[in-house]
């Protein structure tokens, strides 16, 4: 499967106080251009997969800069519609120990939020593609977005393009009530469904038993059962969950599972000393898509995706800058962190 991967979503500025400064202390913000789907494409582009990012961004120097940040990683940008008022932003204060990270969103009225169906000619976009990735953030961005995402799914399906979706519930963008009908419809087109320990409940109404996400311990078997339910209910080939055990803002346990062909494959669990956990889920999706395109066996697939996303969380900013060689080294078991001279 050597075709192009298409992603569709927003692309925004992340503005973060340096180090562990709080908003009240910052005299500068580190800036990072980010978006759930774009982050996936960057990981793929860096590792030699052809990619194309579809979005809508305004015609100004900040959006130009954002676009160049994608080109650097060989992500195609020619289907980014230009127009609209603004590029979204959000402010991220990094937590530590018992102090949680904090996000202030400012992503309404963005160019993509005001996109129209005719902004995107999906037939042309999917030419040469064999994979389409989107997340549950995209349909939440604006009035026309559910319809536009469905257009994309229909065109992808018609072109024989595989569809992956990371559920990615964002309470600041919509409510569960608004999200569920949209997502239940879109999920029907999906071949590979990805979620974290909260998404299935919020987006599709399927609740894990015996689990309290703030308590720092997750029960694998509950998630395996949810994955199976989702796979059966929506006829989805593969369902993957990341499982984060948050014991503090500085250290997390991280593992994942993959439900595929009636089996559930469980990854190693990593105890991560976090550098920057944002983008962890996106790097998992990227690892999953990459490994599935390579036709690796399911256990290798889930180990690769988990190792990829573990490495992301030890890396500053939202892009996962790890190479296949680095990810495989970890996926195969060397987590000693010894210097590589």
């Amino acid at each position: 499967m050597m075709g192009k991967v298409v992603g569709f979503g927003d692309f925004i500025l992340r503005l973060s106080p340096p180090g562990y400064q709080r908003f009240l202390q910052a005299t500068s913000f580190d800036v990072n251009y980010t978006g759930a789907e774009a982050n996936v494409l960057v990981s793929l582009g860096l590792n030699g997969i052809e990619t194309e990012f579809v979005s809508r961004l305004p015609s100004n120097a900040i959006a130009d800069t954002a676009i160049l940040s994608l080109k650097r990683f060989s992500v195609g940008t020619k289907f980014i519609a230009r127009g609209g008022e603004r590029i979204g932003t959000f402010y991220l204060e990094r937590g530590a120990s018992q102090r949680p990270s904090k996000v202030v969103y400012d992503r309404k009225h963005t160019a993509i939020a005001e996109a129209k169906r005719q902004d995107f000619d999906w037939k042309v976009i999917f030419y040469g593609a064999d994979w389409f990735h989107f997340t549950g953030i995209t349909p939440a961005l604006g009035e026309n977005l559910p319809e536009i995402v469905e257009d994309a799914c229909i065109a992808a399906a018609a072109a024989g393009v595989k569809i992956s979706c990371d559920l990615n519930y964002r309470a600041t963008l919509w409510t569960e009530e608004k999200a569920q009908p949209v997502m239940k419809k879109l999920v029907q087109y999906v071949n590979v469904l990805i979620g974290n320990e909260e998404d299935a409940a919020k987006m599709l109404g399927i609740v894990p038993e015996n689990t309290n996400v703030t308590a720092g311990e997750l029960d694998f078997s509950s998630y395996a059962s949810i994955a199976e339910q989702l796979s059966k209910q929506y006829h989805i080939e593969k369902v993957a969950f990341t499982l984060r055990e948050s014991t503090s803002a500085s250290e997390n346990n991280w593992s994942a599972l993959l439900y595929s062909d009636n089996n559930c494959y469980q990854s190693r669990k990593y105890r991560i000393q976090l550098v920057d956990r944002v983008g962890g889920g996106d790097s998992f999706s990227a690892g999953l898509v990459y490994a599935l395109k390579k036709d690796w066996d399911p256990q290798t697939v889930i180990e690769y995706a988990t190792a990829a996303s573990c490495l992301k969380q030890t890396t500053e900013m939202d892009f996962n800058l790890s190479t296949e060689a680095e990810i495989l080294n970890l996926a195969k078991g060397d987590k000693s962190g010894r210097i590589q001279r």
Copy 2:
């Protein structure tokens, strides 16, 4: 005149690449909370004048930080209405030599843009005040703003509060066609009118003769004549103009004039090696209001305001952090820049 000065306007984030970096190079932005009227109040608050800033800002941690940046300089914040979606931002790339500074605005849909007349109880606000300052930016911010500014002017006038207005034309917020009827109406309430070399033409349709603002030479007598016309036509006590001769993005000539009681007073002209020219006009307004409240003679008034704004432009960020003593030292003629041990 020892009463409180009230200002009304927006308060937003300025995000600037450090030093002379272009947007394309920035991995961080210096952050600075700013607003034309707030900047005036900060200068006054720092020098012991009681002030009160009226605005509308959302309820989030970034707006909280913005408000604390005002408190630091003793600017009153209790009449800032909280609500709405977002705090505005703009991106500023600092120019050098022949390369101009560049601004990308993102200040639509802000909390103040969606303000309603009932958000502000002007009678209460003006209690204890003797001065009201606003700029031509405020009525440009949203649908209801012209009306709200007029409410404020009427209340101020009723309370015997002096009104100063800095015309401050911003082409990115409205057109001359939209601006002129609004401003012509509001100017009727104004006691002290302030503008730069372009404002009178753009805001009130009065064009200076013999002047090309990009050519680097301005003709004083033209501006004196415009000031006189404005004073007579709108029955304004005092009209002041700042006159910037831009010979490059690194060095400018800066001077000003004050039309008062049928006379025109001209300040010294400074050749400024610019550190940060943004906020130059605001610091001039602050100097003018401060000097007028002190009841100094007109020549001292215009020298003080010009020296204040000269010093601002040798200072990073939008606030003028100069003290009365520093400003007077320059206004009285010591521009040697010798170390003060």
Copy 3:
């Protein structure tokens, strides 16, 4: 209890090499204005309590800057006497793992060290106040300071103002022999006494049994017993201790106890991945004062103060910038550190 909180003490510059640099490596110092009592007021001011800081600072631009750093958090500064030679400084090198943090003090001959009794009109100062806070640092600062602090205590008591004292022994300022007679006298005025695991012994001569503060394990019952002794011996309403178990310069255990009405309440114990532990005790005092003013029950009080000081230690610099909402969230048990979007 909605009255004003008055604090009295020094306010100095903290100069710290960035990150984990040693003094020998620093080409710059991060600067932070700090003082044990001022830090308490900042926490209170940020959370809406009216405060007034009493001190003495020289008339120069650095002291002016220090004062504005307090205004930003709504701390009243009108009773800060101006005069004297210098503002104090200290140098702080941040430790890591087995390498301890290191402090070089330069806080002699400061303005407050040379203060005179007549610099402070306590009757005026306590007008409208219902709480007075000082620490054991203040009487150690200069010859007249024990007397001045006693003046303040007498005036506070006369005005029905509650008095809290954080013992805060500093071996670089005085010896145990010098400290004990002073503190034993002052403690008689105190309603709420605060200390850490070493203070009671050093300041008041009461030694815990079975405890070695460098061994990383503390015995609660010993401290409970000391608290009870202190309460009985000096007729103090409430005695609180913070208990730090230093296992390394990077991670500490942190908990506290409150003796009140013949009962001893013990807080949760936090394992903190330290960002900046300086100011931990001050934020505890602030949390305690805040919670006591709210008339919460003793268990809530001690949980609140402990959570507040836990959050401080995950925050850069000496001020605790946490809000009531953030502190309560932790105090109620969510220590997962998950991102708050």
Copy 4:
């Protein structure tokens, strides 16, 4: 002329102390990937011209990073041969006023210095190209380089591709004696020859009269005459010279001339407050190639190239990040540096 522009040369790290620090003071170096030909392609790529960079770089993570810095600006990198020991570096200390900038080169034994003729298949490389650019640095880099550059010229000529050459004499790479025979041979293939005020003498042995490059005044007519001689002697269509008058390390005069069709066109002269003068010549070459590809008239061509390189020198680092619109704005005469809102 919408074909691809090919460049061939080295690509190295520039390591510079921040700001005006001297080497002895630096605890960090700003890093910038640069090369004379690559810089030209970046300017073209940023403005929509298709480009391809040919070079040889080692297989390591630093060279990977260098390559990504080109992709960001749409510069093609697929003909960069990978192999060899090292990527070159140089250290640049920025001068100020009377203190000159200082360069320490470390660019021997680089991958390209050890390139072999068979590393480059010029026929394939020039497929779809209509322009080839190289500088006098490339043949100086290693033993085989003169031959490889000639291979490229022959292939380019055979494919009807225009050839531009920037003479760019570097005394640290070779001597005039070594350079002249090589360059005299290569120049015979060249259609557009570019040089600065010293190059013609050093590289081709043609000396301007009446000029002392360190004295800060250059004589246009001498350079016009040299351009004419070069054009006639080597049958070169167009010859362009940049003329730098160095009055200090902080301010230079900058202008240029173009000899074309028996006429000599002279540009405006700019007084530049320098931000970073390195890369000035490369940005001139890029402007020239861009303007010639647009088929603009000779005066516009030389004004465009001069304005482009003026703007570069007001920009940090070696890449010229100016857009066509920005360059034209200056080329047409607005050098006021006024803020563009």
Copy 5:
């Protein structure tokens, strides 16, 4: 033993992205001059031991800067031969958690690599010395280096100077096949042999049993046995090993053993939260040499060396800036990391 310590080796630039940035993210590199033997001398010089560093460096401003960095710590530099083409560099990306640190070397063709025997007059150099230290890196640097190191050893032995050698295998400089004959010869001159958990196998062909260095658990008795074998086989007085258990790139266990007079002394084991682990081995060697020169007992010696190298790893950059007092404090057991006021 109060004589001078001589070290012989290379001295190069370490270029590291700040914090946890990856190479791909760095816009600057922190710079640090380093070399295995020089690092040892810096530790000694800082603590009052007379030292002399022997090396070869080019005549340029970067090498001058490197040399001054040694003078600062009282390291003698008068026997550094000047000449050759370049000073070496390497790029270091700091790892975190499961992501390993990464090194890209660029240290071929350096001045020392091209040194000749006649560059060093060992008889003069060892005048007044009583100790010579080198590492296994030095003979790997260039063709003549094994012979030059042997010259030094012969001269040292002749002058009654003790010789210590840190095996320090570097796979990027030579292969085990090339290294073993060289090192087996040089080791015969050595009085004190130092290695880490991999060196003995790679350099001298002696493999520990039952140990997997990437698994995070080391078996002391195996290393004791190797030390004994080495001591006996090569007639070496003292053999010391550092033992690193890498559980992640952020936390390691660190201990050491010393074989001396038929006994094996084992140090405390430290769990280190790593700040910068590079230079850990060098600081161990320095601690060992220092303690042996002080004639302390073997257990104190190994505790001192281990504590010294523990502290280094909590310190930024390659130099160990710890003083004897700081090291002894830890060596004696206070690892609480409490603030030292």
Copy 6:
């Protein structure tokens, strides 16, 4: 004259907000260890002159760091007495254009201020020396200092050591009334007297005619006449004056004159775009001492000293890091600032 140069004075921390930040904006201070006499020795040490710095500094880690900053430049530190309470500090805010630089001193109660005569054994100190340098700052530092400086002068004279003195009046340390009797006495021992445009008047009561130092124009002949008077009145061999014309805080004119053997030699005048003007006078003294020790002719001496101090003012921080070669290049007339590759 190849003997050692001894300097005697204070050594303190300079704390400066980065760039053009005002004190009110600084969240960090750049740190720089400095002292008028030490600065002179650093310039000499860097250029191969043996030097010894005599002072008194406390026993703490900050003073240790200060001392190492001198060792780096080969300045001898073995006669620095250790003891006393504190190392001095001062805060420096860098001016720009019309905004002057601002200094806040905190240098009372320092170790040297409390020095006693017995702290310094001048006979031992001057062993091997042929030059002694001090400034008018040293006797102003404390009660015993005038006597100690006179001790040094007497010992120097007895040992045949030349004495240079830079008058360096500091109004924050003493008054003209206090200074004049002290300095008039000390000047009698001086062979080479150095001053700036204000010093002679303030320190020795000799006023230049026709000059206003804040007006930006100085009259050479007045200063020549003062130099002659001083030389004659106090039997001083050589008198040198630096002449600063401050037209702004960003640009100054800088020149100097030397009165020697009844002639007055005038240097070139430089228009300096200032980077950091502090330390300009010290670097002039260093250049003068250096050139006089080389026995160059008077015109070369004054050109060298002036060029040295011109270069200092284009360099960050107080040390002049220029080499003889760099200074001679400028002294001989190349002020073009062209890149030196």
